[in-house]
Symmetry: C2
Subunit: 164 residues, 2 copies
């Protein structure tokens, strides 16, 4: 799988406002979290992550819940990027991106995922409703597709910000 460093200009890293930066998956202010970042590579969305030694299922293989977490955050980040682009914006232009939540997550585990390898989640966003996107995702370890997934993400409802 080709790796393109351009995606590192990331919506996740730089652009969400502080109140939304506590996510265990992608929040820059969550010291214990994964710090996933999702960005564009052409018309694909990409998130990379190298699992830590503790993210093991059995020795040598990555824990499925880590893959699900990567796919989940990749999905919401990709939906955010897609709607932001549809609205005429790109990461870095100073406009706050829309915020999404996961409606559903489907993961098919294709191959055991080896430890010690950088993983790449590569997504194709599909608009299925003005406020809802499905992200078709493959997770690569090197050239091997270890998981295929679909995440449907919806624009975050206002009720999510009532409780703090």
């Amino acid at each position: 799988m080709r790796f393109n460093a351009r995606f590192r200009t990331s919506i996740r890293k730089n652009e969400y406002p502080k109140d939304f930066a506590h996510c265990y998956g992608c929040g820059r202010h969550n010291e214990d979290g994964y710090h996933f970042r999702t960005g564009w590579d052409g018309n694909k969305t990409i998130t990379v992550y190298t699992p830590k030694p503790e993210h093991t299922a059995i020795p040598g293989f990555v824990y499925g819940g880590l893959l699900a977490s990567l796919i989940d955050c990749h999905g919401t980040g990709s939906a955010s990027l897609a709607l932001h682009r549809k609205n005429g914006h790109e990461p870095g232009d100073g406009v706050e991106p829309p915020r999404f939540v996961t409606a559903s997550l489907r993961v098919d585990f294709m191959k055991p995922t080896p430890q010690g390898v950088m993983l790449q989640a590569v997504g194709t966003p599909e608009e299925i409703h003005p406020k809802k996107f499905t992200i078709h995702t493959e997770v690569y370890a090197g050239d091997t597709v270890c998981a295929k997934a679909e995440v449907t993400a919806a624009v975050m409802p206002a009720s999510f910000t009532v409780k703090k």
Copy 2:
């Protein structure tokens, strides 16, 4: 949701051999992991977990990847319990249970999951093949179903234990 303490005699906690006890989700030897334990409550399988403060999505709500991880480990643990029972065994009888891996995971997020509440994943195992079970799962926060899920788990192939 009724909570029944009987399930605490857990297959996950006590019975997997040491080589299989490193899982980030359920392994007793993974110091950084969740230490999920899954047991029977009648014909249902139950896993309980109270998310830590860092397992947040946005302040006040639990991170979806944590729920996916809980559901994933609940699914494989439940499949293990179900086949073990089919084979005439119960946790604590000294016979090593079968070990499962996740084939697929589907989660529908029904409601935002509040922080600070003990979560209960409650599963109904369905045998779909002699070596494969689908676990139909609901995750409760108090009386609220926050997620519905299906995990299909397969008996661990020998190839998983080649690499260590």
